[in-house]
């Protein structure tokens, strides 16, 4: 069911702001197999946070000069991992985004992440338009990915897959608007551990043996407040004129290390304290290997001290803010001393403009309400946000109770796309475009009723509860600083992930918490009890009745005493009838 209420210019502007297209009429020469040149860049951004915690973001980018859109087959793999290359060509994948996250990103304490991700596993894929059976290909793709990443992605099926119509536009180049080729699914219950990190590290050209990936040791990485690893594959333009595309693979890993659980007394951080490793060399296959330390709040050197000091400084506009970074180039041998150790203290950062929360209200096991609250912290500008909600079928939403209020008054969304659920087949999909007034909190409320599942559909631990995936809020947030909209190779990776056509706004995606909902759970010992009781009743009752009805009575003489028996024996011998 699609409800169009005043489809605004804003949504059109949103769609047009995606990166420009490749002219389909232009013929592209098929890549010569022997001149495939791959390039690999790696970078680490370290940003000290307000509360004393520290945020480390790794990005590894491999660009592969291959074009799959015209059915070209590739058999020579250089830096691009073969397992992913085969998956892309076999399933005709245009774009693939998969992330595994443990923990929840606290936007108000930590600011905005460079690459957002919801807790658990999230997978969204744009297929090529040559695919005929998208659902079948999606199912096979999730099975293959579950083998590659050692995750239970095979639990993705039609009951948790949706086709968003507006919230997930392609992040790579291409003239694609048909959302029948898009599939989105989340598994909020998915656990992330070393068995997921190991295959992720094996996809890197240098593995975990050289370069920045040496720092990725599981004992420290998982002892953190937030840990997220992701793989993003998309087509990008090879140059400014965009006559041909190449495939970009970005592997990202974000981690936030907590000051107190790392057992520290002072607010002092170093690479060794964060990762229990130091760097010795750059990856030999990398064309660029850099570390960026965010020193925006330390321009005069008064808040913290960075050692060893670096003379290279760079400025970048990221998330609507102009920040200064101290750059360490690992390909330059002069950067390496004995140990690399950083001591930092930090104060302020830009308050994030968009932030969201979600919770379940109500009592009892029959009904409830889902509340999603979105905050706009800009003092005078309002901006639209696109809210995507995917709720499993066993929470039956009553859409007639959907209310959106800002500052106490009703706020009508300008675009609503709702697809009702079908029991055991597909989940609810709700997409809304809401205008957030300045300096306000907008609350979206919808009532639901809990369904009773069949007893075989419960998990082995049903009293834990059932998860509802995070809501996704996507928006173009107005920025005070002009963003650089041209695509250049020299831009650092952390500021060039989300394409941006507008100078005065930047793209932000915020994920809410997942919900944990208790469903009415039966007593699983009841089938056993019922069988025992019924069998007993049937055996005793039926047995007795049958006996009574079918018993035939015969008269039987009691057996005679001893004297009479001896007398009978004598009488028989004499031929006389017995007594």
């Amino acid at each position: 069911m699609k409800v169009f209420l005043n489809y605004p210019q804003i949504l059109k502007r949103w769609e047009a702001s995606q990166v420009g297209d490749v002219d389909p009429g232009m013929s592209v020469a098929p890549p010569h197999p022997h001149t495939n040149t791959d390039s690999f860049q790696e970078e680490l951004v370290v940003r000290p946070l307000h509360s004393g915690d520290i945020y480390a973001s790794f990005q590894f980018r491999t660009v592969w000069e291959a074009d799959f859109s015209r059915g070209n087959k590739v058999s020579h793999y250089q830096l691009f991992p073969k397992s992913l290359g085969q998956v892309i060509s076999k399933f005709s994948v245009r774009e693939l985004h998969i992330s595994f996250t443990q923990g929840y990103w606290r936007t108000m304490q930590w600011g905005q992440p460079f690459l957002p991700s919801p807790p658990g596993a999230e997978l969204w894929v744009w297929f090529q338009d040559s695919v005929t059976d998208v659902d079948g290909t999606w199912k096979e793709l999730t099975n293959v990915l579950s083998g590659i990443f050692c995750a239970s992605l095979n639990f993705i099926d039609s009951t948790n897959t949706v086709q968003p119509s507006a919230a997930f536009k392609p992040l790579g180049v291409g003239n694609v608007t048909d959302h029948r080729f898009l599939r989105y699914a989340t598994l909020p219950r998915e656990i992330v551990c070393t068995e997921n990190l190991t295959p992720w590290k094996k996809l890197l050209p240098c593995g975990s043996k050289a370069g920045l990936a040496v720092l990725l040791k599981s004992e420290k990485l998982f002892h953190s407040s937030f840990h997220s690893q992701a793989v993003h594959i998309r087509p990008i333009c090879q140059d400014q004129r965009c006559k041909s595309t190449s495939l970009e693979l970005r592997q990202t890993l974000n981690a936030v290390f907590d000051l107190h659980t790392s057992g520290q007394a002072k607010r002092e951080w170093s690479l060794f304290k964060m990762f229990s490793r130091t760097l010795t060399e750059a990856c030999p296959l990398a064309s660029s290997s850099k570390i960026y330390i965010d020193i925006t709040d330390n321009s005069q050197g008064e808040q913290f001290e960075l050692s060893p000091a670096s003379s290279l400084l760079s400025q970048a506009v990221v998330l609507g803010d102009r920040r200064t970074f101290s750059v360490y180039d690992l390909t330059d041998q002069a950067t390496f001393g004995s140990t690399r150790s950083l001591n930092l203290l930090i104060r302020d950062m830009l308050r994030p403009l968009l932030h969201a929360e979600r919770y379940v209200a109500g009592y009892g096991l029959q009904t409830g309400e889902i509340h999603t609250v979105m905050y706009n912290h800009h003092p005078y500008r309002s901006f639209p946000v696109l809210l995507l909600d995917s709720v499993p079928w066993y929470l039956r939403l009553y859409i007639h109770t959907l209310t959106v209020t800002s500052k106490g008054k009703e706020n009508k969304p300008s675009y609503i796309h709702y697809q009702p659920s079908k029991d055991r087949l597909r989940p609810h999909l709700l997409e809304m475009l809401v205008q957030l007034p300045p300096n306000s909190a907008t609350e979206v409320t919808v009532e639901f009723e809990r369904a009773l599942l069949k007893w075989t559909e419960y998990t082995p631990d049903p009293n834990h509860g059932f998860y509802v995936g995070s809501s996704v809020i996507s928006s173009l947030v107005p920025s005070t600083v002009a963003t650089n909209t041209s695509i250049t190779q020299e831009q650092p990776l952390f500021s060039s992930f989300f394409p941006c056509k507008e100078e005065l706004s930047y793209f932000v995606r915020v994920y809410t918490e997942p919900l944990l909902v208790n469903l009415p759970t039966p007593d699983f010992s009841m089938p056993y009890n019922v069988i025992c009781l019924t069998c007993t009743v049937v055996a005793v009752g039926y047995g007795s009745l049958y006996n009574l009805l079918t018993r035939s009575f015969q008269i039987e003489e009691p057996s005679p005493g001893l004297a009479k028996r001896i007398a009978n024996v004598i009488r028989r011998m004499r031929g006389v009838p017995p007594l």
């Binding site: 099975n143 590659i148 050692c150 995750a151 239970s152 219950r189 190991t198």
Partner: protein, 302 residues
């Protein structure tokens, strides 16, 4: 056919590849020891040479990254946190809710849906030696999977018979560490099976030591002493099965470990530990060429 005999002799010395199926069937934090059991056997088997592609590891719950684990990304088998059996390079094929009786039997018999990836399949053939290790909570004739279903010894014996009829193993070693474990191998009837259990019918298998920092028991006694035994084995060692039967006598284990070898064709004294726990390639260097098939003649045009 002297040449063919040469080829036949090359392959007649038993198995050519090794597989391992290691299953932990228990969920919840207080069953930490079952995951530690399985991971210790996984670690030994990898160390002795079986690669990840030939190991199907099924863990019903995640202990390493569990929120109650004071040391994330680790699973310890000794108190005082001496030995981290989880390690840095681990590949879990079936995890969480995927560890069910149905999936276990499908892995054994090979009847999996076509889209299952290779890492989740047991691609053994008639020259494979397979090690199967199960641990969890069990009873007389059954093993409990994840608190919601059981596998009975009859089902297990039938699954092995299916494997035999489809020629999916050469020899199979079955080890089980649960209470009343010997009841699980009572019903086997296929050839070339050898079984070990940590306790007899009517006895409980006990756990080893609790760790006060982590707050749970770290390992079960039988597997603890089995791990100690395996730490002394290296790929070239000549220790045989009779030594394995002596692991964990009643004085250490409190329960009586049992074993069954009547279905096994070879003498257990001649079976090396590395035949099942390791992946030793048999290489014979020969100077003569062997014709394996006749050259293919071209079809003549009619």
């Amino acid at each position: 056919h002297r040449n063919l005999n040469g080829a036949g002799q090359f392959f007649s010395s038993g198995h050519t590849n090794n597989w391992a199926v290691l299953v932990c069937t228990s969920r919840f934090w207080f069953n930490y020891r079952h995951v530690a059991n399985t991971l210790s056997v996984y670690r030994s088997v990898k160390r002795l040479g079986i690669p990840d592609s030939h190991i199907v590891l099924m863990l019903a719950d995640d202990m390493a990254c569990n929120h109650r684990n004071p040391k994330p990304a680790t699973v310890f088998s000794h108190k005082n946190m001496e030995l981290n059996v989880y390690g840095d390079d681990v590949e879990v094929d079936y995890r969480g809710y995927e560890v069910t009786v149905e999936n276990f039997l499908r892995v054994l018999t090979g009847r999996l849906p076509p889209s299952t990836p290779r890492s989740k399949r047991l691609l053994s053939d008639d020259r494979s030696n397979i090690l199967i290790y199960l641990t969890g909570h069990g009873g007389n004739g059954f093993l409990k999977f994840q608190d919601s279903e059981e596998i009975s010894n009859v089902e297990l014996a039938d699954a092995f018979e299916q494997m035999w009829q489809k020629r999916r193993y050469n020899e199979l070693l079955f080890i089980i560490d649960t209470c009343q474990g010997a009841s699980m191998y009572e019903r086997f009837y296929s050839p070339n099976l050898m079984a070990l259990a940590s306790s007899q019918v009517g006895e409980d298998s006990l756990s080893h030591q609790p760790d006060l920092a982590i707050g749970v028991h770290l390992m079960d006694r039988y597997t603890f002493y089995l791990l100690e035994f395996l730490e002394d084995i290296h790929p070239a060692s000549k220790t045989n099965m009779n030594d394995l039967f002596k692991v964990c006598p009643k004085s250490q284990c409190v329960s009586t470990p049992g074993h069954r070898t009547d279905l096994f064709l070879r003498d257990p004294g001649s079976v090396l530990i590395t035949d099942f726990f390791g992946s030793v390639r048999k290489i014979e260097i020969t100077m003569e060429t062997i014709n394996l098939t006749d050259p293919i003649k071209q079809m003549e045009e009619k």
